[in-house]
Subunit: 474 residues, 2 copies
C-alpha cells in the first residue's frame, strides 16, 4: 500500500490530497501528530536519491499570502477575535523569519484600534463577509489602502457605501479577485486581446465547488469531513459562512466566476453590467449531508435546520454592449471542482472543464483549426499565449496559494501602491461584483424577476479605459 506523509494544517498538503484520485488506496500519515522516524527518513532517502530531494524549498511560502517573503512588505499587526487563527498567522510569520505582528484580538471591534496606528499603509480585509464593508470603510477613513477579499455584498447600500467612502477619502480599494490571475484565464485574456476570439459575445463562469466539508465539520482544527457542526461549534468558515446559507437564497459568491469574464468584457471600462435575473433550485445538499454523516443523522440538532440557499443558483447577466453572462453557484452538492468558464466569441470558444490546469479545457478556433468542427485540448493554446505576467513571474508564483494566483493579486496590490498607480480591479469592480448577490436574492424572492444593476461609476464607465494585465509588471 502507498503511503502519504502530510501535515494536516498545511493548505498545500490539503490541495495536493484533494488532487489525488482514489485517495483511499493510500495510507495517510499526519506527521505533526506522528512524526517521521529516522528509519523512515532513511527509507525515503533511498527512494528519492538524497536527503535534500525530500525537502521542498518552497514550503513555508504560504500564509498570510506570502507577505513574509516580500522584502517590500512588513506585517505590522493582525486583528482577529479568533486566537487560533492569530496563532496560525504568527507561526507563518515566524517560519518566514519575520518578527511577530502586534495583535488586536480583543473582540470584534478591536480592528478599530489597529486602524489608529500610523505605521500602517494598507490593510487586507479577509474577515467574515458581513465585516468586509464596515471594516473597509473604517480603513479608508483611517487613510489606509484597502485590499478587499472577495465575497458577495450583504445589500446594495453597502456597495454604495464602499464606493462613496473611497471617493470621499480619495483612497483606492482593490478587489482581491485572484482567479483573474489564473494562468489559463490570463492566457485566454491574452488571446481575446490578440483577436483570436473575434468579438466576445457571451461568457460563463461560476463557483462549482463542493463546500459541504467546509460548511459542516467537527469544529476541531482542520476537522473537515469529521462532523456536521457549524456556527459556534464549527471550524473556520463553518463558524460564519454556513449561516448565510440558512438565511439567504442567492448567488452568494459571484466574483470567481464573474471577475475574469468581466475583465475580458471591459466591464466598468467601456461597458457595464445592466440587468440580471436569478433562479435557485431546491436546497437539498447540506441537509442530506447532515442526515447521512456518521456523526449526524436524523436526531442531530442540525438535521432540523432549514437551509434556504438553493443547491444550484443560476444568474443571467446582460451588459451595456450587448453580451450575456451566465453565472452558476453550485457549492452544496457532490461534484468535482470547476469554475465553469466559457468565453465565446465570433471566432473562438473556450470551455473550462477542470480546476485550472492548462490541459483542462477545450478550445475551438475554426480559422486556425481547418473548420474541423472538433474541440482541441486547450494546453498548447494556453502555452502559446501564456500571459506576460506568468512568463515573468510564473516560477516565483508557482509555490503560492491557489496555484499561484494569490501571488499575482497581492503583487498587483503592492506594486500599484508603490508606483502610485490605480488598482487594476478597483472599488467600482468590487461594488459591481458584490451587488450581484443582493440583486440575485431579490430576483429569486420575486420568482426570477429581472433586476437593474446600479452603475456604481455614475457614468464614468463610458470614459474609463481598460487597465488590467496589459504588461508583465503587475
Amino acid at each position: 500500500m502507498f503511503k502519504i506523509y502530510h501535515l494536516a494544517n498545511c493548505t498545500t498538503c490539503q490541495r495536493i490530497l484533494k488532487e489525488i484520485p482514489n485517495l483511499k488506496k493510500f495510507t495517510l500519515r499526519e506527521i505533526k501528530s506522528e512524526p517521521i522516524t529516522a528509519k523512515e527518513l532513511d527509507a525515503m532517502k533511498k527512494l528519492a536519491g538524497s536527503y535534500e530531494a525530500l525537502f521542498s524549498r518552497r514550503s513555508m511560502k504560504y500564509r498570510p499570502m506570502g507577505l513574509h517573503e516580500r522584502t517590500d512588505v512588513e506585517v505590522i499587526a493582525l486583528a482577529d477575535p479568533d486566537a487560533a487563527m492569530i496563532a496560525r498567522s504568527q507561526k507563518t510569520l515566524a517560519n518566514g523569519g519575520r518578527k511577530p505582528a502586534v495583535v488586536y484580538g480583543n473582540g470584534n471591534e478591536d480592528y478599530k484600534n489597529l486602524l489608529k496606528r500610523d505605521d500602517i499603509d494598507a490593510v487586507f480585509i479577509c474577515t467574515p463577509w458581513e465585516w468586509h464593508v464596515p471594516q473597509g470603510v473604517a480603513a479608508l477613513e483611517a487613510g489606509k489602502f484597502v485590499g478587499m477579499e472577495v465575497c458577495g455584498g450583504m445589500n446594495i447600500q453597502e456597495c454604495w457605501d464602499i464606493v462613496h467612502a473611497s471617493e470621499r477619502t480619495g483612497i483606492p480599494v482593490m478587489a482581491l479577485e485572484n482567479v483573474c490571475y489564473r494562468r489559463d484565464v490570463l492566457a485566454v485574456l491574452n488571446m481575446v486581446r490578440q483577436g483570436l476570439f473575434g468579438e466576445v459575445v457571451h461568457g460563463q463562469g461560476g463557483y462549482l465547488h463542493d463546500l459541504r466539508q467546509v460548511m459542516l465539520n467537527s469544529g476541531k482544527e482542520d476537522g473537515y469531513g469529521d462532523g456536521v457542526e457549524f456556527g459556534p461549534k464549527g471550524w473556520s468558515e463553518a463558524k460564519w459562512r454556513t449561516q448565510h446559507y440558512v438565511d439567504r437564497n442567492g448567488e452568494l459568491y459571484p466574483t470567481h466566476g464573474l471577475g475574469p469574464v468581466a475583465v475580458m468584457m471591459d466591464i466598468n471600462r467601456g461597458n457595464r453590467l445592466t440587468r440580471l435575473s436569478s433562479v435557485a433550485s431546491n436546497a437539498r445538499g447540506l441537509h442530506k449531508y447532515i442526515m447521512e454523516h456518521p456523526k449526524g443523522g436524523p436526531d442531530h440538532p442540525n438535521a432540523k435546520v432549514q437551509f434556504k440557499c438553493g443547491d444550484i443558483v443560476n444568474t443571467q447577466i446582460q451588459t451595456a454592449n450587448g453580451q450575456t453572462i451566465l453565472l452558476t453557484h453550485d457549492t452544496t452538492l457532490q461534484r468535482p471542482y470547476n469554475l465553469g468558464f466559457r468565453v465565446q466569441g465570433t471566432e473562438g470558444l473556450w470551455q473550462d472543464t477542470g480546476w485550472g490546469d492548462l490541459d483542462q479545457g477545450m478550445v475551438y478556433f475554426e480559422k486556425q483549426m481547418d473548420h474541423s468542427d472538433r474541440w482541441d485540448n486547450s494546453k498548447s493554446w494556453m502555452e502559446q499565449h501564456d500571459h506576460p505576467l506568468w512568463k515573468r513571474y510564473g516560477t516565483m508564483a508557482s509555490g503560492a496559494g491557489h496555484g499561484g494566483m494569490d501571488y499575482f493579486v497581492d503583487h498587483a496590490f503592492f506594486e500599484c501602491i508603490k508606483r502610485d498607480q490605480p488598482f487594476p480591479l478597483d472599488v467600482y469592480d468590487l461594488a459591481t461584483w458584490y451587488a450581484i448577490t443582493p440583486l440575485s436574492e431579490k430576483s429569486i424572492a420575486e420568482g426570477g424577476q429581472v433586476q437593474d444593476i446600479p452603475d456604481f461609476t455614475a457614468g464614468k464607465w463610458q470614459q474609463r479605459k481598460p487597465v488590467f494585465g496589459f504588461t508583465d509588471e503587475y
Copy 2:
C-alpha cells in the same frame, strides 16, 4: 493523399464527412457526378478483400425516417409544394422497393386534399415551423393521428390550439423529439430512475449547433457552404428557417435540449414548468458569415440584412417541484456540435461534452467513486446502464437517422397507434415545449422579465403518471 468516395445527397455521407477531422487532407470524389470506374473498383477490392465488403447493406435505410423498411407502415401520400423534395422522398421509397406515394404538391394548401383521403391513419408533419400547428389541427380534425416534428411555437395561442384540437377530436398527437431516445440520454434516464442521481435538482440542455451553412447556402441542391443565400434563393431550410432569425429574437429551437430533461423531471406528469426568463446576446454570426464568404462580402444584398436573433440565447426555467433548467440556443457561431446536457442530482452528475457518443461525457457519483472529486468518463456507465430499448433495438436502429434516435421515436409512434396506447410524448408536452419560444421572445423583448408558463394540462399534471421509456417495447 487519401481519397473519400461519397454521394453529395446522402445524409449518411454528410454525417460521416462531418465527423472527419482535417477533411482537407482528403480528396473528395462525388460518385454521382463522377462515377467510380471499374479500375477504381478493383483497386478498392484489393484494399477491402472482397467486392462484397465494399457495399454497406444498410445503405438506403434512411429517408423518410425508415418508413419504407417497416412492414407495418405504408406511405400513401406526400404533400409538399417543393417538387425537389418530393422527388427525393419518392426516390427513397423506390430504393426501399415501395410503390410511389400519391403527391399533393399543388401549392401550400394541397395538404388539405391529402387529409381528405380515407386510406390514411396517421400523418407526419415535418414542414416549415409556421405550418406545424395549422396542419396539425387540420389533420386532427380529419381524424388522423399526428406525429409532429419539433420546433418552437409561433405564439402561445397556437400551443393552446393544438391542445384544444386534440382534446376536442379525441385524437392524440405525438411530439417527435428524437433526442429523448439518444442512447446516452436514455442510459442517464435509466440511471435517474434507478436512483443513481439521487434527487434531480438541476438540468441543462440546448441546441449548440453551428447552422450557418444550413441557414445561408448556394440555393443549389445540398449547396451547403457554397453561398450566402436564403429565402427563395436558398436551399432547403434556408428557404424558410433563416427568416425566423431575421424576425425573431428568442429560444427558437427548445425541444432537443429541453425534452430529455423534461422527461427526467416528469414534466406534465407530477411536475410542470412554471416560469422562465431569457436573455440574448448580440447577433453577429450570420452577418459576419455573409461578409466573409467568398460569394458574399459587403456588396452582397444579404450583407444589409439585420438579423434579430441573438447568437446565444439563454433561458432559465423553474419547475413546480423546485428544480431549475437552463436552456441554450447557440446556432450562428463557429462551434463544435453539442447539446450541452447536464443532469445534476444529490448523488450524481452528468455533463455531456460531445455529439452523443457514449464516451463523450463526464460523470461523477461520489458514493460509487470513492469520493474521488474527479470526473469519470461516461462510457462504462452508459454501457452498464444501457436502456432496455437500446438493448433490444440498438442493432436495428444503428443505421437510422441521427445516430439511431429517429428509429425509436418513429417506432414509439407506430407501436402506440397499433396498441391503442397513449403516446409517451404527447400534445401537452408538445405545447409546453413549443411555448418556450414565444415566451422567451417576450422575455427578451422585456429586458429579461420573467414569464409564466401556461399549464396546458389544466391541472391534470398532478394526477398524470410518467409513461416514457419504462419498457423495451417502445
